[in-house]
Structures are given as C-alpha cells and as structure tokens.
C-alpha cells in the first residue's frame, strides 16, 4: 500500500511500475483531471489540504479497502496547490485476483476520497475565485458502501 500527498505532478506510468503482486489478474486505475468549466473560463484550480490529517485519512481509506476486498496492492496519490485545466489531480489504483474486487475497491476509494479526505477545491476564473461546493450526490454515494462510515 502506498499513499502520497504532493504538490508535484505525477506520472501514471512511473507510479504503476511494479504495481501488483504475485497472483494479480486485474488492475484498475482511476485518474482525476482538472476539468475546465462549461464556459471554458477556468484559469486554475487551487487545492488546499490539512497536512497530517490528509495522509492519515488517505491511509485509513486505503486500509478499509484492503480489509473489505482481497487486494494485492493499493495506491493513492492526491495533489494540492495550484493546478491548471488538463492537469492530473489525483489517482488511485487497485490490484486483485479478479476484476470485480479491483473495480469495486477503486470505486470505493474514489467515493471516500471525495467526501472524507480533507481537501478543498477553489476555482479561479477571470471573474474571481469560488470554493467548490460539496455535492449531495457525493455524500449519498457513500451509502452504497454502508455499513462503512
């Protein structure tokens, strides 16, 4: 298991080198990219985080995934700082014997990262800056994994 919180960009191929374990049959990766606004006027996305708690929260979420599914490997990377549209924000990867576990665990990691890891996004446009509001559907997505909390 590897969890990284960093300002620097990451390279998916570099991060995935040697990922997995003997017996791995399925690897799923999710990569989040800074998406421009519908009007295309996004200058940057600033990501604030809570040093210390962030690492602990990501490690806790990854550990829960490992307790729930048989995973040969888990990777979570999340950036902070100022990013521009098209840049990679974060990634998760899961390795398992079978595809179902790898898919479910990656989906689970994303849902928990979204609403339980202490990151806050601010959108910077020519018109000013605005904090991204949490979406009810992201919170609701966690119910799928109940009884996890």
């Amino acid at each position: 298991m590897r969890v990284k919180v960093q300002e620097a960009p990451f390279d998916v191929a570099d991060e995935m080198r040697g990922f997995g374990a003997p017996g791995t049959g399925a690897i799923v990766t999710f990569t989040g990219v800074v998406r421009n606004s519908d009007s295309g006027n996004l200058t940057a996305m600033e990501i604030e985080h809570y040093p210390g708690m962030t690492e602990a929260a990501l490690a806790q979420i990854a550990t829960r995934a490992q307790e729930r599914w048989q995973l040969g490997d888990v990777l979570v990377i999340h950036r902070h700082g100022r990013l521009i549209p098209g840049e990679q924000i974060m990634m998760v990867a899961t390795a398992s014997r079978h595809r179902k576990a790898a898919f479910e665990a990656a989906d689970f990691l994303m849902d928990y990262l979204k609403s339980r890891a202490p990151f806050w996004k601010k959108e910077i446009t020519a018109d000013g800056a605005e904090w991204v509001a949490a979406r009810d559907e992201d919170e609701a997505a966690l119910d799928r994994w109940s009884p996890e909390l």
Binding site: G32, I47, Y50, M53, A117, P118, W120
Partner: protein, 81 residues
C-alpha cells in the same frame, strides 16, 4: 489548544490557525465562545450544518468533549478527488 481553519472558514476568520486557552467542555461550547468574540467568527460559524470539525485530525461531532484534545479544526465539507 490549537484551532485550525481551512478553506472559506479560514478566509472568513482571516487566519489559518491560532492558539486558544479555553474551558469549553465540548466543540459546540468552543464554537459559542468563538462566535461571541467578533463578527468574523460569527460569520464563519453562522451555519454549523455547513461545517465539519476534526479533533486531533479525526473527523468528529459538534457535541464531542474537548477533554484531552490538542488540535481542533473547522472546515467546510470536503471536496477532494
């Protein structure tokens, strides 16, 4: 006790952290104490349903006791991923 603020809570209060000596028994008591200090605190803590709290870097509840806690953080719902 160290009190930390993030995102728009930090912006409204105007600083990322401060050291507070308090006798507050719970998080809610601490919030009441802060609100009564100045308008900027009252503005930041106007709607608790829009806020989350962490006690020693673990998510907690507003009725949680503060005994033994060294670091309290206030912030809006998280928007990672």
């Amino acid at each position: 006790m160290d009190v930390l603020y993030f995102a728009w809570v930090r912006e409204r209060i105007g600083m990322p952290r401060e050291r507070i000596e308090t006798q507050a028994a719970t998080v809610a008591d601490l919030v009441d104490e802060l609100r009564s200090r100045e308008d900027r605190y009252a503005a930041a803590f106007a709607d608790l349903s829009a806020l989350r709290v962490a006690l020693d870097q673990e998510l907690g509840a507003f009725d949680a006791p503060l005994a033994g806690v060294r670091e309290v953080a206030f912030f809006p719902p998280m928007t990672g991923g």
